[in-house]
Structure formats: structure tokens, C-alpha cells
Assembly symmetry: C2
Homo-oligomer: 269 residues x 2
């Protein structure tokens, strides 16, 4: 913690350059275990969720306007008050609020539970889809999001924006090898349900998801890999009416999550 | 119908200019009752769905590559074979396929039924959301999409792209006055369910949607107007778990549609 505030008016300041690099490079984020968040709401949410704030950048206008800034100043290891011109370099959005943080990725955290209810995705490519998926999963009471075989970075600014804070609260589990990861899940007693577009699979209404279930969805364009489908113990599909040929990825994931989690939400009330 | 093909190599050709205007102006589309579609799949779908093809623009490469082009040549009133440079002016997408149509908006069509199951949206602002909503509604077996109080144009290129043909097949009903439209729906015997973020409303699982139901959702940012909510006979909400504050508009609409339509899909199988 530090209340010492450094003034930054040069766009070439090394802390500014480092923040821009972290914003743009998934590789650097993973290497350093750091990521950036932009916006008063998202940065405030991170602080409230116990995320470690490494650095805070804010403009004078933002400090006057957003209550969250004082809490962030108190929490951050390093604090930089920057000019509007400098913030324009930091910002990814068109009309920036003037608040950005460099945060530390949560380490370890929750363990996978054999009675949990999870959603897994293989190689999802659109960070906005990933963020939206996390938001829906959290809102419906999921125990966590499992990332199989790479795909887009949950710590990218786009994913974090779409998640509205859910990616900071929902437990995230990453397995670089999709099939290896699936086998680990099965090893601890979880049942995997591969979401497929194939009417010979079990209909989602009859799938009987319950405790210890993992819904697995594929890449937006290419679906799941055959290898991963063959490892999953169950296959599930959503019946399609009319002449539509498929659901978009977000709609399919929402329906599956709803069916997996709705009894549970009812139980908890 | 015409098999006469006009060659166009000038970007200033008046037919090209007219197509670009139609692509960009919702007002002109409504005035003329025409709209544009781009891409072999979407244009072919429109033709298969009985949409009247006013004009077809294609490149030689596209004719060689996409089977749909011959059918479109046979169906279109006017046919233009254009150079790649001309097509670049027509195209809205980054890597255009070289196929575009000017289509006539379907007239009248289906009547609203007192036993139908519909989704209505008030003043939806994002055409991609509108298109995705239509795609999900058709895939789940909805009887139609009701647009209350303006909002974005279902005939815009963005909406049509996201809909993947569903906006050409699903009956669309438009009421410029949201409250007046809602009263018309009630007048023919439909029950309106306003989707609200308010835990004193009926939970979606207990709402008891059935024949003659209309789910009403609001604008992405502002929700529904108070006036429209007060006209609806029922209010419904989706219970939220965890610390998420809300669902995104697409996820909420998907869950509501699923609950409204799933028994029905099961009945029909």
C-alpha cells in the first residue's frame, strides 16, 4: 500500500509503456501474471473482489467524478496521476473514464470439486464471447469456468469488459491440453457433457445434468474437436425448430447453462 | 425474371450508387420497401424463402465459386455482373464473396394469432442483437418477432447478417407506437409478460408461459419504458445468483424464449 502519488505527463514514461504492452500482449500478461482493467466500475469491482492492485493510473477529472478512485489509491502498490493526453495513450475505449489498473492474476484459488457444476469451452476464440459466458455462468450460479486447449485470454481487456467483473469472481481453471484436461476432470469424478449439433445425442431437456456435471462447448466456428467429444461421457444437443440450422454459440451456451443450473438456483432460494 | 446480364465496370454506375444508398439508409429502405443482402449463403436463403429479388450483383469469381448464383440470376428482375473494384464499393464486409442482392420487403404476410407465442422488443438499438434474437427465436419455434416503438432496422445489413436468414423467415410485426402496439396485442387476446430486473415479479420458472403469450424485453441499456411495463398484464424476472448484477440482453432473451417455447418444441416432436 502507498499513498505516494507520482505525476506523469509524458507518454514515454516507462510505467505507461508497460501498461500499454500488458494491454496488448497476452503472452506478456501470462509471463508476468499481470493484466490491465479499464474503467471506474471494473477497477472498483476488482478491488472489492480482493484482486491485488499493482498499479493505478487516474486523471484528476476521474478522481473528482468516481468514488472508487480513493479506495483504489489506498489499495494500489503504485499510484500514478496522469494527464489526459497520457491517459489517451493508455485507454482502449473511445471515451475513456480516466481510470486504469494493472492487477495481479489470482493464484491457485478454488479447487475443482467432484460435486460442482461447471462450464468448459475448448479453444473459444472471441474474448467478448468468453466474457459474456462468464457473466451468464456467474449469474446462474455456476461453480466455475474451465478453459480447455488454449483459446482467447480471459485476462484480455475485451473479455474483462464483456464479463462486467464476473471473470474476477468466478473460479477459472485452465488446461493447455484439452484432452488431458478432460481426462483430469473425469479422474476426479466429474461427468462431461459434450454439446453437439447432432439429433442422435440426448436432448438437453432429458440430459439430467446434476451435481458433478461439466458442460463442454466448442469453438464458435469449428465446434469441438472429435478427440475431445470422444473423451466426454455424454453428448447433448438442443432441438432445433423451423428452418434455422443452428444456434449461435452464446445462445447455445446460455440454454445449456440454464438447464444445468436452474434447479440448483431454485434449491438455494 | 430476366437472363439478360448487364456488365458494370464503373463505380459511378447508378445501380451501384442506389445499392450503396440502400445499404446505408434505413429511411430509404422503408421508403422504397427494398433492402440489401450480401453473401452467397444469405442471398441464396432469401431466394429459397420466396423473397423477391429485385437486383443481383455478382463477380465472375463468385459465379464460378457459389452454386447459389445461377438460381439468383434466374430469379432476379435485373442482373449485373460487376468488376472486383465495383464490388468493393458495394460490399460492407472486409473479404467480400462477390454476391449482393437488392430484395423486396415481404408485405403483410402472417396475421398475429391469439394462440401464438411471440417475443417483442421495445426500441432495441443494436442490429446484431436483433438479428441474434431472431435466429434464436426461429430455432426455438417462435411464431414471430414484434418490434415495439421503433429501434434498429431489421432490414439493415448487420441485423440480416446476425440473423443468418431467420429475419427472412420469421414473421415480423412492427408497431411504431409501443404502448399502442401493446394494447393491440392485448386486444386480440394475447398475454404480455414484461421482462424486468425486479425480484418481486414472477420468477421465469413459475411464469407459466403458454399459448397466446408475448415476452416483452426492453432496450439493451435502458430496459423497458415504465409506460410499457404498466400496460403488460404480467411481469417476469430471471433469478440471479452470485454477485453478478444482471444478465446481458441476449442471455436474458435466450432464457425467456427457451422457457416460453420448450414445452412446445417437445409437443411437436
Amino acid at each position: 500500500m502507498s499513498m505516494q502519488i507520482e505525476l506523469v505527463t509524458s507518454r514515454d514514461n516507462r510505467h505507461i509503456k508497460q501498461a500499454v504492452k500488458l494491454r496488448n500482449s497476452g503472452r506478456l500478461r501470462r509471463e508476468l501474471g499481470l493484466f490491465v482493467l479499464e474503467g471506474a466500475r471494473l477497477c472498483g469491482d476488482a478491488n472489492a473482489s480482493g484482486v491485488h492492485i499493482d498499479s493505478l493510473f487516474f486523471t484528476d477529472d476521474a478522481r473528482a467524478k468516481y468514488d472508487a478512485v480513493e479506495g483504489l489509491i489506498a489499495a494500489a502498490d503504485s499510484v500514478y496521476c496522469v494527464s489526459d493526453a497520457v491517459f489517451d495513450k493508455l485507454a482502449e475505449t473511445a471515451a475513456p473514464q480516466g481510470v486504469m489498473c494493472i492487477c495481479r492474476m489470482p493464484e491457485g484459488g478454488a479447487d475443482l470439486s467432484p460435486t460442482g457444476r461447471y462450464i468448459a469451452c475448448e479453444n473459444l476464440s472471441d474474448p467478448s464471447n468468453l466474457g459474456a459466458l462468464a457473466r451468464t455462468a456467474e449469474a446462474l450460479g455456476s461453480d466455475g469456468l474451465i478453459l480447455l486447449g488454449g483459446g482467447c485470454d480471459p485476462y484480455s481487456p475485451k473479455a474483462q469488459r464483456a464479463a462486467m467483473g464476473s471473470l474476477l469472481r468466478l473460479p477459472i481453471f485452465r488446461f493447455d491440453d484439452a484432452v488431458g484436461g478432460a481426462n483430469e476432470l473425469i479422474g476426479i469424478g466429474l461427468k462431461l457433457y459434450a454439446a453437439v449439433v447432432d439429433s442422435t445425442a440426448a436432448s438437453v431437456g432429458e440430459a439430467g445434468f446434476g451435481d458433478g456435471s461439466v458442460i463442454v462447448i466448442g469453438n464458435e466456428g469449428n465446434g469441438m474437436s472429435e478427440r475431445l467429444i470422444s473423451v466426454c461421457q455424454n453428448r447433448v444437443y438442443i432441438p432445433i425448430s423451423g428452418r434455422a440450422e443452428s444456434f449461435n454459440a452464446a445462445a447455445a451456451a446460455t440454454i445449456l447453462l440454464w438447464e444445468q443450473l436452474k434447479e440448483r438456483s431454485a434449491d438455494e432460494q
